[in-house]
Symmetry: C5
Subunit: 304 residues, 5 copies
C-alpha cells in the first residue's frame, strides 16, 4: 500500500498512519522505562563509580548509523527493483497489445491476449501475496481454464506458456509474420524476466546476518543509552533517550519493512492498484468494457 | 525548471531564487525564536541543572546527516532517472524519424510521424504536470483526432498506439520492409518504456516512512539544538543554531523537491524546454516550418 | 543456505544459528580477556601516565566503520549479482522451454532440451561448490553422455555446447525456423553469460588488500579498545568493550561470508533449492514426472 | 584535458597544475586573514565570553563532509558517464566501419562512411565546447556539404541523418543486405544515444540547490572555523584552519569542476585526443592516409 | 595478479605479500620519526602553549575517511569493470565458437576462428600491459599475419577486423546463413565493446585532482597527528600514531593500486590466467591440442 499523506510539514509531525510507529512503540516504551530506571539508580551508581560515559556510545552510535545506512540501501533497492519490475509488467503488456493490434486484422485475438495478460498480472500478484487468485482469474479467463491453471505448481509460469501458445497459433495461422512474432517473443521474454525477478525478491531476503547484527546492536545500544546519558542530563534523560532511540529504531524498522516490498503494509507496493491499471489500459486499448474502477486511497490515504 | 544562476561564488552566496530558502524560511525563524527562548531561560535552567549538553546531539546530528545522505540519494536518483527518460524521448524520436526518412521514399509519412511524436511528447508532459494538453495537441495533430485522444483514460498510451498503427499501415502498403519495421518497432517499445517509467516515478513516491522519520527527527533536532548550544555559546547561540539548522533543513527540503522531478519548481526538470527541443529537431529533420522558438531562461534564470 | 529465522524481534536477539557468532566467538573471548587485563593493569598504568584515551579511538573507530561499510557494499554486491545470475538461469531456462514448446510440434525435443538444461544447472552448481556432479548429471541425462561430460575441463561449457547442437539439429531438420532459432540463440548467449558470471565471481575475490587492511585494523582496534575505555568505565569496561567489538567484528565477518556467495554457510545462496526449482518448473512445463520434492528448510531454518 | 602528473608521492605534494588550487587560492587567503583576525580579537572576545567552541563545528563539519561526498558522487558520475559515452562513440564508429568493410565489396563506401563518422565526432566535440566545427568539418567532408551542416540548428543530428542516408542508399543499391542494414541501424541508434546523452549532460547540471547549499555552508563553515579554533590553538590557529579549509574547499571545487566534464580545464575530458583517436582508427581501418598525429601532453602534462 | 593468501585470521595479520605495506612503509617510518620528534619537543612546546589538540583532527580525520571511501569506490569500480570486461571476453569468445560450431559443418573454420580469438585476447592483454604480443601472437596465428598485425597502430582492432572478415567470408561462401551471421555480428560488437572499454580504463585515470587532494591531506594529517596526540598519550604516541596512519595511508595506497587494474601488482587482475583460460576453453571446444597448462599461483600466492 502507498500512503499519500497530508502535505503540510506541521501536520505530518503528528501523523500516525504510514509511519513505523506501530512496530516500534513497544520498544520505545521499554526504552522509556529503562530511562526511568537509570534515573532512579543514578545516585546509587554514582557512589560505585560505575556509570557509563557517552563517548564510547557516540563512537558506537555513529558506526551503527553507517551500518543502518547500508542496510536501508539494501532494502530500499529491493523495493525499487520490485517497483521497476511491476512497471515493466505494465509497459510490456501494453507493448504486446500494441504489437498485436498492429499485426493482426481481426479484433478477437487482441482481446483474448489482453484477457490472458490481465490474468497473468493478477496471478503473479496473488502468488506473491499468498492470496487466492481464483476470483481475479475467473473474471478474466474461461473458468475451466482457470481451474487448470490453479492446479499447477507454478501458476504464473504456466499462464505465460499459454500466452506464448496463443501467439504461436497466430504464427501458424499466418496472422502474424515471423518477424512480428520475433518482436512479440522478445516481450514474452521480458514478462518471463518479470516473473523470475519477483520470485527472486520473494525467495531471497537480505541475508539474515545483516538484520540480526543490526537489530541486536540497535536494541542493546538503545537499552544502554539512558545509563550513559543520565550523568549529564539528569531528569532530561528520558526525553533525549527516547528521541535518539526513535531515530535508530525507526530506521531499523523501515529497513525491515522495505525488505519485503510485496506485503500489504503501509509502505509496501500497491500491487492491486497496478494490476487494476494494467487491466484498465489493456481493456481500453482493445475496446472492451466495462473498465474496472480506479483504486482510490482509503481514509488512511492507503492504496492496496 | 532549471536555474542557471550567476557563476561567481561570491554573488551566489546571496542568491535567493533557486535555493530552497522559501520552503524553509519559516522554520528557520522558528529556530531563531527557539534560540532566543533558550537564551532567556538559560539562567533559570542552570539553577535546576536541567540544560541539555551537546554530545548526545553530536551523535544524533551525525546519524541524521547519514540518513539525509541516503534520502538525497534516493530522491536525486529519481530526478536523474526522470531526466534520462526524457533524454531517451528525444533520442528515440530522432532515431525514429531518421529511420522513417531512410526507409520511405515520399516526404509525407515522415512529416506525419514527426507530428505524432511531437504530440506524444507534449501529451506526456502535460499529463505528468496535470495541465491540459489541448493547446499543444491541436497545434501538432488534426483537431478532431486531438479530441478523440483527449477523451481517453490514458492519452499518451493511445497516441503511441496511433503511432504504431501509422507504421503498421506503412508496412501493409509496402513502404517499409518487414526488417525496417522491426527496427522501428524496437524504438516504439522504447517510447513505451519512457511512458511507463514516467508513470512509475509519478505514481510511486519515495516511501512515506522515510520522509516522515527524517522530517520529524530533523525538526525536533533543530528545535532542541539551541538548548544544547546555549551553555557554551551564550549570545552566539542564535547564529550557530540557525546555521546548523539551515544545513539540515535545506538538505531535507532539497530532497523533498528532487523527489517529484516533474513539478514546476526551481529545481524541477525543464520539460517544456525539452519538448520544444524535440519539436525543433523533428521539424528540422522533416523540413517543416516554422520552428518554435527556443525556450529562454526568464529573469530568475528559470527555464520551464 | 538461506536461514529463515524466527520473526519475533525478541526471540531473534538470542538466535545463534545464522548469525556470525561461530566465526567471531573466539575473538570476542580474546577481547574479554584483554578487558580483564586492562582492568588489572589500570592502577599500575595510571601511575606511569601511560593509559590510552578514547578520542583517538573514536576517530579511528568511525574511519573503520566507514571502510567496513565500503567492504560490505563490495561483498554484498557480489552476493546480489550471484543471486541475479541464478535468477537468470531460472528465467532463461523457462523461456527456452517455452520457445521450444511453441516452435516444435512434437513432444520429444522439448523433453530432451529440458533434461539438458536441468543437467546444465546442476553441473554449474556442483562445479561452483567443488562437489561431484555425477549423481545429478546421471539422473537427468544418458549415463554414457554424462561420463563424457565429466571428463571435460569445463563441464558446464561443454554441456551448453551440447544444448546448442540440439537446437542446431532442430534447425537443420526444419523443426524450428531460422528466426525462432535466433530467439533461442539469444537465450543460449544469456546462459553463457550466466556461466561466465559465476566463474568470474568464484575466481576473483574482493582484492585481498581490502580484507587484509580491514582485518588488521579491526583486530588491533578491538584489542586496544579496553585500554582506552578502562579509565572512564572501570569494571564496566568488559561489557562495553565486548559490545563494541561485537559490532565491528561481526560486520567484518559477515562481509567475509558474503564475499563467497556460492559456499554452503548459513548466509550463502541456496543453490540446491534453486536447481530443484528449475528442475520442477521445466519438468512441469514439458509434462514429465515425477517432480523432485521442494527443498524444505531444516531444523535450523536452513535451506541448502 | 587529462593531467598525467609526476608519479612520485613526494613531488606530487607540491604540484600546482591539475590541482584545484587556482580556484580556491583566493578563498584560502580569505580564511588566512580571518584566522589572523580571530587571533587578534581573541583576548578581547575572551573577556565577553563570546568565543565559539569547536564541538558544534565538529558536528557541522562531519555533516558537510557527508553532503560533499554525496555531491562528489553526483558530479563524478556525470564525468564517468560522459567518458563512457565518448568511449561508445569510438567503439560504435569502429564497429560500423568493420560492418561496412565486411558487407560491401568496394573500397569507396567504407572510406566515405569513415569520413562522415569522423566529421560526426568532431562536430559533437565542438558543439559541446561551443567552438567552431568549421575547420575540422572541412578537413573530413566536402566543403559545400560542410557549409550545409554548419547552417543547421542541430548539426550533429543532421550529420547523423546523412550517415543514415548513406547506408540507406547502399541498401537500395543492394550493396548491403537487409539484415546487414539492420546490424548497421542498431549502431546508428547507438550513435544517436551518444548524441542525446551528451546533450543531456550539458543541458542539465546537477540541480543548482545542491551546489548552492554546499557552497554557502562550506564558506560559512570555513569563515567561522578560526573563531572556534583559536581558544585551543592560539597562534597555531592559522595553520590548522587553512588546512581544514583546504580539505573542504578543494572537495567543493573539484565537484564543481567534475560537474561539467566537457570543459577545457585540467580535470576535464580530453575530447580532442579522443576524436583524434577515432580519426586515426577509422582511417587505418579504411587504409586512408595520412593519419593525424597522436595528441601529446603539453609541458603541464595536459592533454586537450 | 591475484593473491590467494593464508585463510586463517591469525596468520593473515602478519602477511606481508599482497598487502600494500611495501608502498607505505617508508611513510610509516616518517610518521614514526615525527612521533619521536613530537615526544622530544613536547615539554618545550607545552611552555609556549603551542601544542595541537585532537578535536580539530578528529573532525578532519572523519572528513578524510569519508573522502577516502569515495575514492576507493571510484577506484574499485574501475577494477570491477575491468574484470567484467575480461569476463565478457571469455563469455563472448565461447559463444562465438559455439555459434560457429553449430552453424558450419566442417571442422576447419571453427578452429581458425578459435585461433584468431585467442590471438585477440592475448594481443589486448599485451597492449594493456605495454609488453610485446609477438610471442603469444605467433603461437596462435600464422607468423606472417602476426607481423602484419604487429605493425599496426591499433593491433587488437585490426585483429578484430580480421575476425569479422573471416565470418564475412563464411557468409559469402554460404556456410553461415544471414541470420546466423547476425547472431555472430552481435558478439563481434560485444568484443569491440570490450576493447573500447579496456582502452577507456587505461587512458582515463580517476581525475588527478582527487588523488592529489587526498594524498596531500592524508600525508599532512598523518604528519601533524603526533603533535595532537602527544599531550594525552605521552610515550604511547608513536604506537597510536603509527596505527592511525597505517589505516589512512593503506586505504589511500590501495585506492591508488586499484585505479590501474591492468598492472602486474599483487592486487591487479590476473590477465595472463584469464587469457590462458580462454585459450584452454576454445581449444577444448574445437578439439585442438595441446591445451596450455593452467596458470598456478607462485610461492607468494600470486597469479599473473
Amino acid at each position: 500500500m502507498i500512503v499519500r499523506p497530508p502535505q503540510h510539514w506541521f501536520v505530518r509531525l503528528f501523523t500516525w498512519h504510514g509511519s513505523v510507529m506501530p512496530q516500534i512503540l513497544f520498544r520505545l516504551l521499554l526504552n522509556l522505562g529503562m530511562s526511568l530506571i537509570a534515573l532512579a539508580l543514578y545516585p546509587w551508581l554514582g557512589q560505585h563509580s560505575a556509570h557509563l560515559t557517552l563517548p564510547p556510545f557516540s563512537l558506537l552510535g555513529i558506526a551503527i548509523a553507517i551500518f543502518l545506512g547500508f542496510r536501508n540501501n539494501a532494502s530500499y533497492s529491493r523495493y525499487l527493483e520490485a517497483r521497476k519490475i511491476w512497471g515493466s509488467m505494465m509497459i510490456t503488456s501494453r507493448s504486446l497489445i500494441r504489437q498485436t493490434l498492429c499485426a493482426v486484422n481481426e479484433a478477437q485475438s487482441p482481446k483474448l491476449a489482453a484477457k490472458l495478460l490481465i490474468a497473468y498480472a493478477w496471478t503473479l500478484n496473488h502468488s506473491l501475496r499468498g492470496s487466492s487468485a481464483r476470483q481475479d482469474l475467473q473474471r478474466s479467463i474461461d473458468p475451466s481454464e482457470a481451474d487448470g491453471i490453479l492446479n499447477k505448481q507454478s501458476m504464473a509460469n504456466m499462464l505465460l506458456l499459454q500466452v506464448g501458445q496463443l501467439y504461436a497459433n497466430l504464427l501458424r495461422q499466418g496472422k502474424v509474420t515471423e518477424l512480428q512474432y520475433r518482436n512479440i517473443d522478445e516481450n514474452l521474454n521480458e514478462l518471463s524476466r518479470c516473473l523470475g525477478g519477483c520470485e527472486r525478491i520473494t525467495n531471497t531476503p537480505v541475508p539474515f546476518a545483516y538484520s540480526l547484527i543490526l537489530q541486536r546492536t540497535v536494541y542493546l545500544f538503545c537499552t544502554l543509552l539512558p545509563l550513559a546519558l543520565v550523568a549529564d542530563l539528569h531528569w532530561l534523560t528520558p526525553f533525549v533517550s527516547v528521541f535518539i532511540s526513535y531515530t535508530f529504531l525507526s530506521w531499523d524498522a523501515v529497513a525491515e519493512e522495505m525488505e519485503h516490498p510485496f506485503g500489504e503494509g503501509a509502505n509496501h507496493l500497491a500491487l492491486d492498484a497496478i494490476c487494476t491499471g494494467i487491466e484498465r489500459n489493456l481493456l481500453e486499448m482493445t475496446e472492451q468494457t466495462p473498465l474496472p474502477p480506479l483504486k482510490q486511497v482509503d481514509r488512511y490515504y492507503n492504496l492496496t
